[in-house]
C-alpha cells in the first residue's frame, strides 16, 4: 500500500469515527440548551469562571455548577462584550461576558470566580455594570486562591478560611446547607468522572479514539451534571466497539502532545487528524489539567481543597506550580513517546505566552520539535494558515 493510499484510508477511517460521534448526539446541543435542560430539572445553576472552580462543593450543596468556557457555540457575536472589553481581552473572557450579558445568561442563578488571571479578576464588576444597565443582577461569589507555594506560611490557612467563607455565602444566598456526607458523595462522583476522563484520554493516546470525539465528550462535562457525564462516558466505553477494542483501525503514526487553554477549534482538530497526528499527550487546561488530579474522598472541604489546589496538575495560571510544571511537561513528553509538541496558544493569554519559549527550549533539548499556533476569537476565519502549518509540521516530522 503506497503512502497516498494509506493516507486516504486513514482519512476515511477518521471521518467514520467522527460521524459515529455525531450520531451519538455529542456536540449537537449548544451550551445554552444544555444549561436549559439542567434548569428544567429544577437545578440552580452556578456559572463558574474558568479554570478550576471548586465544583464538588457546589454540587454537594445542591447547586449545579457549569464552567463558562467553550461558549462559542452559544455566542454568535461579541457585540455586548465589545461594549465592556477592549479587543485585546482573550476570547474566553469575551465569550464569557457576552454570554452572561445576553438573554441566555438569565439562565444562571449565580456566578463564581477566582483569581485565575488578570483579565478574569477584573470581570465581576464589569459584569455587574453590564447587568445593571439592563436592570439585572446576579450574585457573584469571589474567592482568592493563594498563588504562593504551600510551603509559604499562611497559604493553606488562608485557603481554608476562604472555603469556609464561600460555604457561608452560598448557604446565606441560596438557603442551602453544607453537609459533610453530601460533600463526600460529591467528591466520589467527581473523582469517578475524572478517572473516566483519564481512561478516555488514554484511549486517545493509544489511537483507539479520535481526539475530536474525545474533545466533544469532555466538553459535555462543562454543561451537564456530573452524574450525566459519568453515565455518558460509561455508556460510550461499554457500547461503542471502537472503544472496546483498542486495536481497531489504523493508529495514526505521529504521536504529538497538544498544550493550551482550550482544545483547538473543530476545523483544526480535523486538520490535526487528517495530517496523521495522534494526540499521545494532553496538556490542555480544559481537559487534562482539569481532571488529572482528585484527592481521596474527604468530608472536610477545607483540607480537600488545600490538597486539590496545591497538588493540582501544573498550569501556568496556578503560579505556585511553576517548578512542578517543567518536570511534568518533560515526563509527559517522554512518557508519551511524543515526536512533536503543538502549542494551541490562546491569543492574549500572557500566562501561557511567558512559558512557551522556555518549554520550546527544553523540548528541543529532548529532541522534540514544537509548533506554536495561535487561536483568536475569529479562529474560524483564520484557520487556513494554521491548517497549512499543521500539514507542514506533519510532513517535517515524517521526514
Amino acid at each position: 500500500m503506497d503512502h497516498k493510499m494509506k493516507k486516504d484510508l486513514r482519512k476515511k477511517y477518521l471521518r467514520r469515527r467522527r460521524h459515529l460521534g455525531q450520531l451519538r448526539g455529542l456536540g449537537n446541543m449548544d451550551p445554552y440548551n444544555k444549561m436549559k435542560s439542567l434548569k428544567d430539572k429544577g437545578g440552580k445553576i452556578i456559572g463558574c469562571f474558568p479554570l478550576y472552580p471548586p465544583l464538588e462543593l457546589f454540587h454537594s450543596m445542591g447547586l449545579t455548577p457549569v464552567v463558562l468556557w467553550g461558549l462559542k457555540d452559544s455566542v454568535k457575536t461579541s457585540g455586548r462584550a465589545d461594549l465592556h472589553l477592549q479587543s485585546y481581552a482573550c476570547s474566553v473572557a469575551r465569550h464569557l461576558v457576552e454570554f452572561v450579558l445576553s438573554d441566555q445568561g438569565r439562565i444562571m442563578d449565580g456566578l463564581f470566580m477566582y483569581n485565575a488571571c488578570d483579565t478574569l479578576r477584573n470581570l465581576p464588576e464589569i459584569l455587574h455594570c453590564g447587568l445593571e444597565e439592563n436592570g439585572r443582577s446576579l450574585p457573584v461569589f469571589k474567592m482568592h486562591i493563594p498563588m504562593a507555594p504551600q510551603e509559604q506560611t499562611g497559604t493553606s490557612g488562608y485557603l481554608r478560611a476562604k472555603i469556609l467563607s464561600l460555604i457561608m455565602e452560598l448557604e446565606e444566598t441560596f438557603g442551602v446547607v453544607f453537609s459533610p456526607e453530601e460533600f463526600r458523595h460529591s467528591v466520589a462522583l467527581y473523582r469517578e468522572m475524572r478517572l473516566l476522563c483519564k481512561e478516555l484520554e488514554s484511549r486517545v493516546a493509544r489511537g483507539a479514539i479520535s481526539y475530536g470525539r474525545f474533545s466533544q465528550i469532555i466538553q459535555e462535562s462543562y454543561f451537564t451534571t456530573v452524574e450525566d457525564h459519568i453515565a455518558l462516558m460509561k455508556d460510550t466505553l461499554k457500547e461503542d466497539p471502537l472503544f472496546r477494542n483498542d486495536s481497531v483501525g489504523p493508529s495514526p503514526a505521529v504521536a504529538i502532545i497538544i498544550s493550551g487553554i482550550l482544545p483547538p477549534p473543530p476545523k483544526l482538530i480535523d486538520a490535526l487528524e487528517d495530517a496523521g497526528f495522534r494526540v499521545a499527550g494532553n496538556d490542555i487546561a480544559s481537559q487534562r489539567r482539569s481532571y488529572d488530579y482528585t484527592p481521596e474522598a474527604a468530608d472536610n472541604p477545607c483540607s480537600y481543597y488545600v490538597d486539590f489546589y496545591f497538588n493540582h496538575f501544573p498550569c501556568p495560571t496556578l503560579l505556585y506550580s511553576a517548578d512542578k510544571r517543567i518536570a511534568t511537561i518533560k515526563n509527559l513528553a517522554s512518557g508519551a513517546g511524543a515526536r512533536g509538541f503543538v502549542f494551541i496558544g490562546e491569543k492574549f493569554c500572557e500566562d501561557e505566552y511567558f512559558e512557551i519559549p522556555y518549554l520550546q527550549k527544553i523540548l528541543k533539548e529532548m529532541g522534540i520539535p514544537t509548533l506554536p499556533l495561535e487561536i483568536s476569537i475569529e479562529d474560524d476565519l483564520n484557520s487556513t494558515a494554521c491548517v497549512t502549518r499543521l500539514e507542514a509540521f506533519s510532513e517535517m516530522l515524517r521526514g
Binding site: Q86, D118, C129, K142, A148, G154, Y320, A322, G345, K347
Partner: protein, 424 residues
C-alpha cells in the same frame, strides 16, 4: 539650553528635574558598585515594599519595571522588545517585560544603566499584576535564581483583616528567606527608619501633587510621572525625603512667582493609566500648544493613599510592618472598579478636572480592562467628558500620535461645547 528645551518640551527643566537625573544615575551606579562588591541583589516587582531590604546591611534591590520605563523613555524600548521577540516572546506580552527580557538576555547591552546586576533572589507579587510572577519565572528557570512570590488578594473593597494578616505573614517569610539566603541578620531598627523615611517622603509627594489644584496648575502630570522614579530606586532613604521636600518647595515657589508649565491653561485633564514613557516630551509639548494640561493621574495620586482614597495615609510611627501591609495595595491595578471610581471621583473634585483621558494600554490589561465601564460611569455620574485613547506604555511601535491627538482634540472641543452651553 533652557530656551531650546522649552521649545521642545513646552517648559524648561526644573531644579528638581536636574536633581532627579543625578539621583537616578547615582542609584544605578551604586547598585552596580555594591553588587560588584558582593552585596546580595534582589530584583523586585514594582510594589514589593523595598523598605524590607533596608533592614539588611548589605542587600540591594533593582526594579526591572522601572528600568524598562527608563529604557522606553530613553528611546531603546523597541530595540529591547525586538530582542525578546527574537527569543520567542510574543509581541502581545507586556512591553516592560519584553524590554527587560531583551536587556537581560543580551547582557545589559543598549541599556541606559548598563542593565541590572544579576540577582540572588527574585521577589514578585501578584496584586499589581500576576504576570510579574510569570516574567520572573523566566529568570528563575533560566538562571536557577530563587523566586519568592508575594501573594496579595485583589481588592474589590477595602482590605480585610484576614488579607492584612496574610500579607504580614508573607513579609515575615520573606525576611526569613533573605536571612537564610544572604546569611545576613534583619535589623528592625534600620527597617523602622526606612519606613519612617518612606512615610515622610510620601507626605512630601502629596504636597507636591497638591499644586495641581492651583489654577493654572503648578505641575504637569509628566513632571509627576518622571518624579516617581526615585520612589522606586531610593525607597526608604533619607535622600528621597529630601528630594521630594525640595520638589514640593520648588513647585510651590514657582506658583508664588507666577511660573506655570502651561501659563494659558484652558483645559485641565486627568490621565488614567501608566505613563506613555516614550511620549513624555512630545505629548507634553503638543498639549501645551493646545493650552491643555494633564494635571493629575491615577498612576501618581495612588502613591501614599489607600485603596479608594485620594488623601495621604500617613505613617503614624507605629508598627512599620503593619503599615507596609496596610498600604500593600496602594497602586491602582489591584483595585476593583468601585474603588478606582471612588478615588478618581475625589481627584476630579479636589484638583478640578475638565476631562478625563483613559489611556487603554495593551501592555497592561489589569489597568485597562475596566476602563470602558469607568469611562461610562465618569461621564454619566460626574458629568465630565472623557475619551479613550490607545497607547502602549513602553512600546512606541504600538502608538499612533495623530490618532491619539485626534481624540484628545475632540475631548477639548467637547469641553468647549459644554462651557459654551453653560454660558448660554
Amino acid at each position: 539650553m533652557s530656551e531650546e528645551q522649552k521649545a521642545k518640551t513646552g517648559h524648561t527643566k526644573t531644579e528638581a528635574g536636574k536633581r532627579l537625573s543625578k539621583i537616578i544615575f547615582n542609584d544605578y551606579m551604586r547598585l552596580h558598585q555594591k553588587a560588584k562588591e558582593g552585596a546580595f541583589v534582589v530584583w523586585i516587582a514594582i510594589v514589593v515594599p523595598a523598605e524590607l531590604f533596608s533592614g539588611f546591611e548589605n542587600v540591594v534591590y533593582a526594579v526591572p519595571e522601572s528600568h524598562a520605563a527608563m529604557s522606553a523613555g530613553k528611546g531603546v524600548g523597541p530595540l529591547q522588545c525586538e530582542k525578546a521577540e527574537g527569543n520567542g516572546f510574543s509581541p502581545d506580552l507586556c512591553s516592560y517585560a519584553r524590554i527587560d527580557l531583551g536587556t537581560a538576555f543580551d547582557g545589559g547591552k543598549d541599556s541606559p544603566t548598563f542593565g541590572l546586576p544579576k540577582p540572588h533572589l527574585l521577589v514578585s507579587d501578584n496584586n499589581n499584576c500576576s504576570l510579574l510572577v510569570k516574567w520572573f519565572d523566566v529568570y528563575h528557570r533560566e538562571w536557577g535564581t530563587p523566586h519568592f512570590i508575594l501573594d496579595v488578594p485583589f481588592c474589590y473593597e477595602q482590605q480585610k483583616d484576614r488579607d492584612f494578616d496574610y500579607i504580614l505573614s508573607q513579609y515575615r517569610d520573606l525576611i526569613a528567606a533573605i536571612e537564610r539566603l544572604s546569611g545576613q541578620k534583619f535589623d528592625a531598627r534600620r527597617f523602622r527608619e526606612a519606613v519612617q523615611n518612606t512615610g515622610e517622603a510620601l507626605t512630601q509627594w502629596k504636597r507636591f501633587l497638591k499644586v495641581a489644584s492651583h489654577r493654572p496648575s503648578g505641575l504637569t502630570v509628566f513632571d509627576s510621572f518622571v518624579q516617581m522614579a526615585p520612589f522606586l530606586t531610593s525607597r526608604g532613604s533619607r535622600e528621597l525625603v529630601d528630594h521630594y521636600r525640595l520638589l514640593a518647595d520648588e513647585t510651590e515657589d514657582n506658583i508664588a512667582w507666577g511660573i506655570f508649565p502651561v501659563p494659558h491653561e484652558k483645559y485641565r485633564l486627568l490621565w488614567d493609566n501608566i505613563a506613555p514613557w516614550h511620549q513624555l516630551s512630545k505629548m507634553s509639548a503638543r498639549l501645551a500648544g493646545l493650552n491643555a494640561n494633564i494635571i493629575a493621574a491615577s498612576y501618581t495620586y495612588c502613591m501614599g493613599s489607600l485603596e479608594g482614597e485620594f488623601d495621604l495615609y500617613a505613617y503614624d510611627g507605629g508598627d512599620p510592618l503593619g503599615y507596609l501591609a496596610r498600604t500593600q495595595n496602594f497602586s491602582v491595578c489591584p483595585h476593583g472598579l468601585e474603588l478606582r471610581y471612588r478615588s478618581m471621583q475625589k481627584a476630579i473634585k479636589e484638583v478640578g478636572i475638565d476631562g478625563v483621558v483613559f489611556a487603554s494600554n495593551r501592555s497592561c490589561k489589569v489597568y485597562s480592562i475596566m476602563q470602558m465601564d469607568m469611562l461610562k460611569r465618569v461621564t454619566r455620574e460626574l458629568n465630565i467628558p472623557a475619551v479613550m485613547i490607545d497607547v502602549d506604555h513602553a512600546d512606541v511601535r504600538k502608538y499612533t500620535e495623530e490618532s491619539v491627538f485626534g481624540r484628545i482634540e475632540a475631548l477639548l472641543e467637547l469641553i468647549d461645547v459644554r462651557r459654551n452651553h453653560a454660558l448660554s
